[in-house]
């Protein structure tokens, strides 16, 4: 059977939004490629799994059950998914490009003798074949790739593909995964110190650089993020290397690639490695006291000024605007 197999990632008892986006994109593509979308999840299915996955476009939802599948295991999950794939012979396997998906997809690919197109941002169909677009060099270039043989495994960047809900709920079929060995297993999840929004997931990112002068001034950025309501706080590498901020907040070529609706760079010069990680943001605002700073070359809007003067005013105005709307 042709069609697309989508791995549905479950976290905190719910199918992840990024997986629903992957199902939606798969459903769009099968209209051209033929076949249908099957979603597969491992372990206990959330109560609404058939509903949300069906609405996103899956015509089948399979839950792979096994006594060992209470926690994620890359090799264990890959082996279980491989069994389904071997039976189904899909033209593509889609996985959301999350920390778990990135760990899992290459292991599935090896078992199914396929290559992986990583962190895809777009798909087209040409001559009956799936073409995947993916950023390389942290977004400085884009590659279009296709499977050399028949099967393409792809990971899909979250927040890029539209989630649709035109489909109909389906029933979840539970299958025994059978015997798989588990070589690496998650033992526990340590909660974040503060439950913060990830820079890769937030629609608004407020980032600070060395121009913020010290970690004690991060409250200014946090206040602006809070005023927006849906913002995460990011950082340049200079700031992370100085130990002002944890490295999971670093944006750039050796940090995270972000593409929020709005990116606000505060006291960041705009080195090429930083630009690589944020240039695909929809709108970029830069606040920097140096009018010659390279960040202004990519910014849609710029304010030449001192962050310590501009930020409090900006925060106050954003707060006022949001309260009024």
């Amino acid at each position: 059977m042709a069609g697309i197999l989508v791995y549905a990632e479950v976290r905190n008892g719910a199918v992840r939004k990024a997986s629903l986006e992957a199902v939606s994109e798969a459903a769009r593509l099968t209209k051209e490629l033929g076949g249908s979308v099957s979603a597969v999840l491992v372990g206990a299915a959330p109560a609404n799994a058939g509903e949300v996955l069906g609405k996103a476009g899956a015509s089948e939802v399979i839950a792979l059950a096994g006594p060992k599948f209470t926690q994620y295991s890359g090799d264990g999950y890959a082996a279980a998914i491989h069994k389904v794939a071997a039976q189904m012979q899909p033209t593509a396997i889609f996985v959301a490009s999350t920390p778990q998906g990135k760990d899992l997809a290459p292991q599935v690919a090896v078992l199914t003798h396929a290559g992986v197109a990583s962190d895809c941002v777009g798909f087209t169909v040409a001559g009956g074949k799936l073409l995947a677009k993916r950023p390389v060099y942290a977004g400085k270039a884009t590659l279009t790739v296709k499977a050399a043989e028949s099967l393409l495994v792809a990971t899909l960047r979250p927040n890029v593909f539209a989630q649709t809900d035109a489909g109909a709920p389906v029933a979840v079929t539970t299958r025994e995964a059978g015997e798989v060995s588990l070589r690496a297993v998650v033992k526990e999840v340590l909660a974040a110190v503060a439950n913060k929004l990830d820079v890769t997931e937030a629609p608004v990112v407020v980032s600070g650089g060395r121009g913020m002068k010290g970690p004690e001034h991060w409250g200014l950025l946090e206040a602006l993020a809070t005023a927006f309501g849906n913002a995460a706080v990011g950082a340049s590498r200079a700031v992370v290397d100085a130990g002002w901020r944890p490295h999971d907040e670093q944006v750039g070529q050796t940090g995270k690639t972000v593409s929020p609706t709005l990116y606000i760079a505060c006291g960041i010069s705009g080195a090429i490695q930083h630009l690589a990680g944020m240039s695909s943001s929809r709108v970029i605002v830069a606040i920097n006291k140096d009018p010659e700073a390279p960040i202004f070359k990519v910014a849609d809007y710029g304010i030449v000024g001192d962050v310590f003067e501009v930020l409090p005013v900006l925060t106050e105005e954003v707060r006022r605007l949001r309260a009024a709307s």
């Binding site: 060099y137 340590l190 710029g302």
Partner: protein, 252 residues
């Protein structure tokens, strides 16, 4: 404990990418190469595993062109014991699978319990070679590790997931670990290390040919960003900025 560590040579991160004549990879003219930044963390961790377990051999492996001897020599200077260059002047023609297959064959010969890699090579940004090698060899795999400890035949690792939370992963050796920034602070190369490196073994063998599983159709550059629709000065510019964000860009 014997450890293998895989390192890649990549265009330096300040490279301005241009598309080459083939239309499928970058124009190498004037490009400077350096060690993939994440691989420095991998090498450092390999050295620490060896030191903590009271000895062994750290073998650093690179699949790449003859020039990559330079990067390997540098890692020998940092403290690795021996190096293997799987020589291939057509590295751009390989995908992650084809690289992983060649590395896996080499690693198997070394018979190590711990394999270190970087979480991602910052050229193609795949982030696959580590998990692929693990799957090919039937080893355990832990990716994007920020903390690891080995006790006997078990490794206890921490890896970052969304929003600053961490997963604790337990892996049975042999295993492949991919290093994320934050795992350690790589040590510097010192002069005695550079002297010692000259005498350390660096073996060069032809990399086995492996057909890629992905075909590159095209490499393109993103449209250049339109700079500066509005530039204001100081805090007085805030109302105009917000008006434009709301009315022109509609992001508020």
């Amino acid at each position: 404990m014997d450890v293998a560590v895989c390192v890649k040579r990549v265009p330096s991160t300040d490279t301005r990418v241009k598309v080459g004549a083939s239309g499928t990879s970058i124009d190498p003219t004037g490009v400077q190469y350096e060690l993939n930044p994440f691989d420095e963390f991998a090498v450092e961790e390999a050295l620490r595993v060896k030191e903590k377990t009271g000895g062994g051999t750290v073998t650093v492996i690179c699949l790449g062109p003859g020039d990559a001897q330079k990067e390997l020599r540098n890692e020998l200077a940092r403290g690795a014991d021996k190096a293997v260059l799987l020589k291939d002047d057509q590295l751009e023609a390989r995908d992650a699978y084809s690289i992983a297959r060649a590395l896996a064959d080499q690693i198997q010969k070394l018979n190590v319990r711990v394999v270190m890699m970087g979480k991602q090579a910052v050229d193609r940004d795949n982030g696959h070679v580590g998990s692929m090698v693990a799957a090919m060899l039937g080893y355990a795999c832990v990716t994007e590790v920020v903390k690891m400890e080995i006790q006997g035949d078990t490794a206890r690792c921490e890896r970052e997931i969304e929003g600053g939370a961490r997963e604790v992963v337990e892996a049975q050796l042999p295993a492949v670990f991919t290093a994320q920034k934050g795992l350690n602070e790589p040590r510097y190369v010192k002069l005695p290390g550079i002297m010692a490196a000259k005498k350390k073994p660096l073996e060069e063998v032809a990399a086995p040919a492996v057909a890629p599983k992905l075909t590159v159709v095209e490499m393109s550059l993103p449209p250049a960003r339109q700079a500066g629709r509005f530039m204001g000065k100081g805090k007085e510019a805030v109302p105009e900025l917000l008006r434009r964000l709301r009315e022109e860009s509609k992001v508020l």
